[in-house]
Structure formats: structure tokens, C-alpha cells
């Protein structure tokens, strides 16, 4: 078997393979190190309507097998996205997904309408960023709020919408169901986990913003579990995101129910990590005689009662 079908279709967006960068860890500069055409899609850092300064530093701290960030959406604003970034990415044939962030539903609509332009394949709505005001709260912590904001944007735009969910909720399945009911074309599971670290010498928080979002390999088992739970309850495609550092990690996510994956922190560790992951997935498919990667989505073999996984095991 020589040719593996790596192609996936996510909410109407056709991708040559299921691997794309996670918002905030990728930008135009990546083109200096590898050919962006190898990626399944290109995902921008969350953009706000107007320029924003972001949080005070330090904005990043390493933790065991992970890192905390509180960049706080430093954004050049949507005009710069339209004038510079979108034309830049048009040199590449991988579909462009723009992540948008806003404090109000109306602002989301303004942004979504402004960015519904040729060259943009889909919008990822970041309703999960834990760093903004309100003590880290966000739309995606609550199913009703999620329904309200997605429904509102969906009614006023035609472009495919991916809702990016937060793991900082005890109702991720209900939130995903609400996003689907409101018309989201896919869900991204998930953003970073609200967290904190303290320097014991100075007694100061290691992050200027005190709290920040945890990402990297340490969150992978938790987000993987969420993908598995969401997959059982929703029909729209799931994009798995959290701690992916290898082809095995990506395949694990697909077996749990993800149709595609996003790679974030690992881009910092290995700037060409996504290229390696795509290659590794192809090799896995060859080794296991899988002709289309779509076949492994949700293919985890669960033996025993259907709902045993819902039972507390601790």
C-alpha cells in the first residue's frame, strides 16, 4: 500500500491532512523554517477587533511537562489581519482559519462579518480564553452562554464556525452539545487549563497575570478524556488539542474521537514538529494498513458496559 488518504473534511473545510497549529503558537514566521503547504490548515493567533496590548510579563513559565501562559491576547487588530496576514497566507494552498476573540457577542459578530472574506476558510471562535477579565470566566464555561453566543454569530454569518471550548468547566459535553445545537460546524477541544505557579524564593507568582493557561504534554490525558466524552454526544467534527507532541499522540486523539488535531506548545519545543507528526501519522497508517485516516476516528476499542467510563474510578 503506497498512498494513504490523509484527507479530512472539517465543517465543510477540506484539509489534506488532519494536522494544524493551535492558535497563538503559530504565525507567518513559521514559513522561514518549513513549507506551510504541508499543513492541513493554518490557524492564526486570536485576533480582536481593535489592537490590544496584552498582559504584563512574565507571560510564560515552564512547569513539569508543560507551561503556563498569560499572553492576554496581544492583538494587532482585525485591520492588520485583513491588510497583512490574510494576503500573506494566500500564497499557500492550505485553508486559513482565523481565530477571533471578543468580550461581547456583538463584537464577535462585527469581527466575524469583517473577516468573512475570500481567503478565509473558517473562523475559530475563541469563547474559552481563560486570561481575559472576569477572574478567568468565559462563555464556554456554561452551555447556555455558549448557545447564546454561537447562535447569535451563526445567524449573522455564512462562514464555517469552529467553537473552541474550554476545559475549565465541569460541563464540557453539555457545552459541546450547546455549540452543535447553535450551529457550530466543529468544536475544538480544548483551550488551556487555568493554572498557577509560584517562585518559592521570591514568593511571587511566576506569571505577571498571577494565573494563566496550562498547556503541553501534562494536560493531554485530561483533554483526551474530554474528546472521548464529547465524541459520544455530538455529531459535528471534533478537533483535538492539548499536549500533542508526536504522531502517536495525534492518533490517540483521533481514536478517542477527534477528526483532526491542533499542535500548540510542541511547536516551541520542535519548530518543525508538525511536519514530523504528519510524517509519523502516515507511517502509522502504513504499518497498520489503514487506507484512510478517517477510519480511525473514534476507533478506541472499549470492552464492557457502554458507560463504565462514566463511573468514578477513584
Amino acid at each position: 500500500m503506497s498512498e494513504i488518504d490523509m484527507e479530512v473534511s472539517i465543517g465543510g473545510v477540506l484539509m489534506k491532512n488532519p494536522v494544524m497549529p493551535a492558535s497563538g503558537t503559530f504565525a507567518e514566521e513559521a514559513a522561514q523554517i518549513f513549507d506551510l503547504n504541508v499543513l492541513g490548515a493554518l490557524v492564526t493567533k486570536s485576533v480582536t477587533r481593535y489592537p490590544r496590548m496584552g498582559n504584563i510579563g512574565p507571560r510564560i513559565a515552564e512547569t513539569t511537562a508543560g507551561m503556563i501562559n498569560a499572553v492576554g491576547i496581544q492583538s494587532k487588530g482585525s485591520q492588520s489581519m485583513l491588510n497583512t496576514s490574510i494576503p500573506f497566507y494566500q500564497q499557500y494552498n492550505s485553508p486559513l482559519i482565523i481565530s477571533i476573540s471578543a468580550d461581547t457577542a456583538d463584537e464577535f459578530i462585527d469581527l466575524a462579518q469583517e473577516l468573512s472574506v475570500p481567503g478565509v476558510a473558517a473562523l475559530e471562535i475563541n469563547i474559552s480564553c481563560p486570561n481575559l477579565e472576569d477572574d478567568g470566566r468565559s462563555y464556554a464555561m456554561d452551555p447556555a452562554q455558549t448557545f447564546r453566543v454561537v447562535d447569535y454569530i451563526k445567524k449573522k454569518t455564512k462562514i464555517p464556525l469552529f467553537a473552541k471550548l474550554t476545559p475549565n468547566t465541569n460541563a464540557i459535553t453539555e457545552v459541546a452539545i450547546a455549540a452543535e445545537a447553535a450551529g457550530a460546524d466543529a468544536v475544538v477541544v480544548a483551550n488551556t487549563m487555568l493554572s498557577m505557579a509560584i517562585d518559592v524564593e521570591s514568593r511571587k507568582p511566576k506569571i505577571g497575570n498571577i494565573m494563566g493557561g496550562l498547556s503541553g504534554p501534562c494536560i493531554k490525558p485530561i483533554i483526551l478524556r474530554m474528546v472521548y466524552q464529547v465524541y459520544k454526544k455530538v455529531g459535528i467534527p471534533i478537533i483535538g488539542c492539548g499536549g500533542i507532541c508526536s504522531a502517536e499522540d495525534a492518533i490517540e486523539y483521533m481514536m478517542a474521537g477527534a477528526s483532526a488535531v491542533q499542535v500548540g506548545t510542541y511547536n516551541f519545543v520542535n519548530p518543525i514538529g508538525m511536519v514530523d507528526i504528519i510524517q509519523g501519522m502516515k507511517e502509522h497508517a502504513i504499518r497498520h494498513k489503514i487506507s484512510s485516516l478517517n477510519d480511525i476516528v473514534g476507533s478506541v476499542c472499549v470492552i464492557g458496559p457502554e458507560d463504565i467510563d462514566e463511573v468514578a474510578t477513584y
Binding site: I33, I60, F268
Partner: protein, 261 residues
């Protein structure tokens, strides 16, 4: 800038707290400029996860060698310190912008402390090769920590040492020293790295004497390439506060734009 596996040539003790590493990197040697840095993968394990930024300490073009001088600080540099000659080191760089030396500058004054010395050494080498005269005030906890003084002298700098141990590294004394050098040596530009207090002092002197200056800054990094905005610091420019990325808009900045820290 490239991502590649280089070979460690040596990794030796420079003092009890510092190590001196040389790598063989013919693929990038011609791109390296004083002031730039490499983003090093210090271990192949999951922890420490992120790369660690290290300034270029020496560029030996004829031997395709890049050197680093580093303080063993935490997990990352500890694991870097355990690397042996012959092992492969995953390097990403050179990154960032180097120092800019204007043609008309003849006399440079360099003030560095601690690990900042590592960043300044190749600047002295470069300036000497361009026929400029360099004066270096090197500050450290103890004489043992002023590792690169001899190398800086070899590179052509006239070196003055100040240490906490000898009690002559305080700001009042250092200020007098700098002012007397400005008076007697007709200094055209100032350079610093490695200390917040020295940076603040030098910024004031730079504004007062209207002598331009550059500073090499540090900040925790994510991507190292300008994509993530993790390494941002605030600066003053044209009466406004702006955020700049240390990795891509720096690590060398204009002294007059630095905020008091």
C-alpha cells in the same frame, strides 16, 4: 537561521558556576552576529520541556565554531552542563538582531555584569576587527566570576574590573567611573547587558550626555521566533508605551527606549 543537530566540541568548567561550550556548526556560522542568540534544546526528555536561549559568546569563523558561556542556574542549564564532547546538540538559530555598530563610532564603552559578559565578548571582537577602541567595565560578585576578562583583553578591550567582593561595584562608584571615561576617552556609544541597575544607570547617563546606547535584554521565551508574544516587554517610543518582542525585535534594544525596571 536554521534548526539543526550540531556537534559539541567541548563543554568545560569555566568556574564553579559557569561552563564554556563550543559547538561545530558550519551550516550557520556565516549568519552569526554578535548579540544574537541560539535557542537550545538542553535535553531530550519531556522535562525540561522548552528550549533555553543562549547568547553567542564567541564566533570562530575559520573553525566553524560557535561558543556559549553559561551560568548553571536551573534544570535546563544543568542538563546542558552534562553534555559531553561528541554528543549532538539540537540548536535553533541564530535568532534575533545583533548589535549595530555605526561607522563613525570610534570609542565604545561596554558595561556588563554576570552572564551579561557572555553577550558582550563577541561585540568587543567585532568592534576591534572594525578598528574601533573598546573600554569594558566588567562587574561581578567576585573576581572568580569575571571569566571572560582575559578573552575580552585578547579581543582588544581595555578592561576595568569591579566586584562586590572588593566593594567597588556599587552604582555611585560605577557612575563616577563611567563619567570619567566619557570625559577622558570621548566615548561615542554605550553598551550593556546583565543587570537591571546598570541598565537604568546607563540609560540615565545616555540621556544626560546624549550618547547613544544599546542594551541586550532577557525574557522567558516560547517560540523564539516572534510568533507567540510570550517574550514581550514594554518600551517607550515617541512618548508612547509599546510592546516589543525580545526574541525578534531584540534582544538588542536602544537604551533610550528601555523602561526603568
Amino acid at each position: 537561521m536554521k534548526l539543526l543537530q550540531s556537534t559539541v566540541l567541548f563543554n568545560i568548567e569555566a568556574s564553579s558556576r559557569y561552563k564554556h561550550m563550543a559547538i561545530y556548526a558550519p551550516e550557520v556560522i556565516d549568519e552569526c552576529i554578535a548579540g544574537q542568540f541560539f535557542y537550545l534544546k538542553c535535553s531530550n526528555h519531556i522535562s525540561p520541556l522548552l528550549r533555553r536561549p543562549m547568547s553567542i559568546y564567541k564566533i570562530v569563523k575559520e573553525k566553524d565554531e560557535v561558543h556559549f558561556l553559561y551560568l548553571i542556574k536551573g534544570e535546563g542549564t544543568k542538563s546542558l552542563s552534562q553534555m559531553q564532547a561528541g554528543e549532538k546538540l539540537d540548536i535553533f538559530g541564530p535568532l534575533g538582531n545583533g548589535f549595530i555598530l555605526k561607522k563613525e563610532w570610534k570609542n565604545l564603552l561596554i558595561i556588563a555584569r554576570g552572564v551579561g559578559l557572555a553577550t558582550m565578548a563577541p561585540l568587543i571582537d567585532l568592534a576591534t576587527k572594525q578598528g574601533k577602541t573598546t573600554y569594558a567595565i566588567l562587574s561581578a560578585r567576585s573576581k572568580e566570576d569575571i571569566l571572560s576578562a582575559n578573552y575580552m583583553k585578547e579581543c582588544g578591550a581595555q578592561v576595568i574590573l569591579v566586584t562586590d567582593e572588593d566593594g567597588n561595584s556599587d552604582m555611585v562608584y560605577v557612575r563616577k567611573l563611567i563619567e570619567s571615561m566619557i570625559d577622558s576617552k570621548s566615548i561615542d556609544a554605550l553598551f550593556t547587558c546583565g543587570s537591571k541597575r546598570l541598565t537604568n544607570l546607563l540609560k540615565n547617563i545616555s540621556l544626560q550626555y546624549k550618547i547613544p546606547g544599546q542594551v541586550a535584554l532577557e525574557e522567558n521565551m516560547g517560540c523564539g521566533l516572534g510568533m507567540c508574544f510570550c517574550c514581550v516587554k514594554p518600551f517607550q517610543r515617541a512618548g508612547k508605551i509599546i510592546n516589543l518582542r525580545v526574541c525578534s525585535e531584540g534582544p538588542i534594544f536602544q537604551l533610550e527606549e528601555v523602561m526603568e525596571i
